[in-house]
């Protein structure tokens, strides 16, 4: 990579969330509201700090700071490059919204939830800014364990079981990943850093060795990224966790796995080496299977959050599929989908949270007529759901378009079939929700003449603003980003820089 | 079953060890590694370097004095362990804990023991002090003192013998062996040498021989007294009976 300037800002961004942790510890229990606002300020400040790097990153600068070194080639280092910055921006933004949302949503054990929220944000930013696989792994593992308390926050039996499952998957994955890193270190000539065109090559190691490294990485990150045989924890964890946590799980934490795979593909192996090793075939087939099968599973779910979780499994595989195309547009679409999906799925989960808070309903079949009770929420939900299907003008459409174009570039139109199938299935499981919410209502409203009426459309009495505002912001962004994707700071402006380098 | 396995294992071990023995240097051969490598220095120069005619004593106290320091620490440790496990009579309440019954034995035996024990002790003092020139030394002398106290205790009982060597004396002398080594070691440091240096570099050469002799005697006496007291204390601790938890055989 090009020479980078020393800067404390990455470290500052990673450390700022801890400030809200300190605030929680420092202020007495009585100042509950003050503490919550301080937490929000903390995440806002973090977002601000991340944002402050934007002009520099757009100019192509990278910033770096060394934390500690184990031995010369093995060090903890934070570096802001374009790709990492892109991920960090998504993280910080979504986290800020989730924090606002949680201030109203979380009703017990605030301290624990917010403390671990802040910790996880810090670790996620650490992941985004990691300069090498070693640092990435360390932050990744800490994030894994830090997110456990978020999942089991409700402490119901279901939550505990989900948490247990999560831990089992995460620990096994961590171990595999650890092995991958050791193998990488060993065969990569002691280099764990990220290079613009990859660092491994067949000069140092045999084909089989590199394949081993790649597949252990894929298996290790694949658990978080919920590639199909490894997805088991996802559908349990999402419904069990509180909604802001589910939004983060789906929007960001799953992406940490996907981001790891992106790093592995772009910066460790490099496109040429992947093409040479022919591993992309496996990646693509796994991704296709996941996309289709997960959508089918989603159809069968009645629990809203569970359906959304299965949808997430499928959607994250879009990223993998995009990478596996090894073509400019495919990669562009895949990586951009990381942010797109975060916006859409974040919005959907937060909507599910609002529904849960206001009506206590979890299952789709109970939601008849809910669109009249919660119009704003459900409109936002519909916007995001339509985007998921790929309706223009929305981010979902951008992704699908780019992926389709990528598959043509790669010369494999079969992917288009998969994409279309997925879009249809998405429609099949999202449209019924919208339909039920707006066009079916239960017989409660039967008047004295025996006629059924619409429930009244009630605006302005929805829910706490802290719940509604993030939902609306996300829904708006789903459209805005879809239309003006090239605004500085929006995905296209950042991702295209990276992809243009790799696929000129 | 377990026995058979153990037996097989032991037989295998024995065969292995005997095989090794068959491949060892022949015993008593002056060409052995043991007889050729380091040893001549000890045999030829021990007398002038350590001022002990008995080379073994020279090796124990001087060349390998650090080992012997470890050795006396081991036995001190054993005493601490025995006392930790079995407990010890406490100061002031000694009589309550000690079995006062006299062992019935004839006057002849008693008189004999009364008569013999001082001589045994005298012999042990000789053994201690002449460790440099003849077989024996601190620990052997200490063990002999211990043995004499055993005889005394078997005849006169614990009460009598613990009156002869009261707790106060034992307690203050038990560490004597280790302390002797530490004292000599520290003095060696003060004298400008390393730990446990007997011939202090800071002292005139002409004085060194007598210095070494005196220090050796100091250590010998320490080891003798300390060893004796430790053995006696262990003995007393094991004999001591606490009636309320006596076994029901």
């Amino acid at each position: 990579m090009q020479e980078s300037t020393f800067s404390v800002i990455p470290l500052l961004a990673v450390l700022l969330p801890w400030a809200s942790l300190l605030a929680i510890l420092a202020f007495p229990k009585r100042a509950e509201r003050l503490r919550l606002w301080l937490c929000f300020l903390g995440s806002l400040a973090t977002f601000g700090v991340v944002l402050s790097l934007l002009p520099g990153v757009l100019d192509g600068n990278t910033y770096t700071i060394k934390l500690a070194s184990v031995v010369e080639s093995l060090e903890m280092r934070l570096t802001v490059d374009t790709l990492g910055y892109y991920f960090a921006l998504v993280v910080a933004f979504l986290w800020m919204l989730a924090t606002v949302y949680s201030m109203s949503y979380i009703d017990h054990k605030h301290n624990r939830f917010f403390a671990f929220m802040a910790m996880c944000e810090s670790f996620m930013l650490g992941c985004a800014f990691s300069a090498n696989m070693f640092t990435y792994f360390i932050f990744y593992e800490m994030m894994t364990f830090g997110s456990y308390p978020l999942i089991i926050h409700e402490e119901t039996t279901m939550a505990r079981r989900a948490g247990y499952k999560y831990l089992v998957y995460a620990i096994a994955a961590g171990t595999v990943l650890f092995f991958a890193i050791v193998a990488h270190y060993f065969w990569g000539d002691g280099q764990l850093g990220f290079g613009s065109y990859g660092v491994l090559s067949l000069e140092f190691a045999s084909r089989a060795a590199l394949m081993t490294v790649f597949f252990t990485y894929l298996a290790g990150f694949g658990v978080k990224a919920a590639i199909m045989p490894l997805h088991g924890w996802v559908p349990d964890a999402h419904p069990a966790a509180p909604s802001p946590a589910s939004a983060l799980l789906s929007g960001v934490i799953l992406k940490a796995g996907a981001f790891g795979i992106i790093r592995v593909c772009f910066n460790v192996f490099g496109a040429d080496l992947l093409r040479e090793l022919e591993v992309y075939v496996v990646m693509a087939s796994l991704a296709c299977i996941t996309i289709v099968v997960a959508s089918v599973f989603a159809l069968t779910q009645d629990n809203l959050k569970r359906r959304l979780a299965y949808s997430s499994i499928g959607q994250v595989s879009y990223i993998i599929l995009g990478l596996a195309m090894l073509a400019h547009d495919g990669a562009l679409g895949g990586v951009m989908h990381l942010a797109h999906h975060a916006l859409m799925k974040g919005c959907l989960f937060l909507c599910a949270g609002v529904i849960l808070v206001k009506t206590g309903k979890k299952n789709i079949s109970e939601m008849a007529g809910i669109g009249y009770q919660l119009p704003i929420t459900m409109i936002c939900f519909s916007v995001a759901a339509l985007a998921m299907m790929g309706t223009p003008p929305s981010v979902g459409f951008v992704t699908k378009w780019l992926l389709g174009s990528g598959s043509l570039q790669a010369g494999l139109p079969v992917y288009i079939v998969v994409l279309l199938a997925s879009a249809l299935l998405n429609a099949a499981y999202f449209l019924p929700i919208i339909y039920i919410a707006f066009f079916r209502w239960e017989g409660d409203e039967v008047d004295e003449h025996g006629e059924r009426h619409h429930p009244k459309l009630v605006f302005g009495k929805e829910a706490d603003h802290k719940l509604v505002v993030p939902v609306v912001v996300l829904a708006a962004l789903v459209v805005i980003v879809g239309i003006w994707s090239n605004v500085p700071g929006f995905p296209y402006s950042l991702v295209s820089k990276v992809v243009n380098v790799i696929f000129p | 079953m377990k026995k058979v396995v153990a037996l097989l294992f032991i037989v295998a071990l024995a065969v292995l060890l005997l095989y090794v023995v068959a491949n060892m240097p022949p015993m008593g051969d002056p060409e052995n590694p043991t007889a050729t490598h380091v040893i001549s220095r000890y045999l030829e120069r021990a007398e002038e370097e350590t001022h002990t005619e008995n080379v073994v004593t020279g090796v124990i106290l001087n060349y390998r004095g650090y080992d012997t320091m470890g050795e006396v620490t081991v036995i001190f440790c054993a005493l601490a362990g025995v006392l930790a496990v079995l407990g010890r009579e406490r100061r002031g309440v000694i009589h309550a804990f000690v079995d006062r019954s006299e062992v019935p034995s004839s006057v002849i035996v008693k008189t004999m023991v009364r008569f013999v024990v001082p001589f045994i002790i005298l012999f042990s003092v000789y053994t201690i002090l002449h460790g440099e020139t003849s077989p024996g030394g601190g620990f052997q002398g200490g063990a002999i003192i211990g043995g004499s106290m055993i005889i005394f205790t078997t005849i006169f009982g614990l009460y009598e013998s613990s009156r002869r060597i009261p707790l106060k004396v034992r307690a203050s002398l038990e560490g004597a062996a280790v302390m002797g080594f530490f004292l000599v070691g520290a003095l060696g440091l003060l004298g400008g040498g390393n730990f446990l240096t007997y011939a202090w570099p800071r002292v005139a050469r002409s004085l060194q021989p007598s210095l070494v002799v005196w220090l050796t005697v100091l250590v010998e006496v320490g080891v003798g007294l300390g060893g004796a007291m430790v053995l006696i204390s262990i003995l007393f601790a094991m004999i001591r009976e606490e009636e309320e938890i006596a076994p029901a055989p």
């Binding site: - | 023995v21 440790c77 003849s134």
Partner: protein, 127 residues
Amino acid sequence: MRLLHNYHYAAAMVLFCVGLYTVIVRRNIIKKLIGLNIMETSVFFFFVSLGYLDGGIAPIHAGAADPARMVNPIPQALILTGIVVAVSVTALALSMVILLYRQYGTLDVDRLMREEEPEAAEGGKEE
């Protein structure tokens, strides 16, 4: 035949094995300790034989003793330490035996290890 020449060593090894066998197989803990002592003395015996020199004399400079004929003093010095260590271990082990017998009323190692909970009756068990 080296083995026959080294019969001291061989005897020490046999004694070592006898001791080890006793420690492993005998169930009585005092027997085990006797076995332990046999093991120890056998190793001491081995050491002393190592230092022996054909036609040697004790390493004491008495009169006009010839240093070249003296046996090796090092093993002797080591073994002196060894003996003290052995008696220390024995003393500590025996004191524990006394305590164990007070508490479990048995010297049989199998019964000792079989007894389960500390809440079980204090004092002796019927044999």
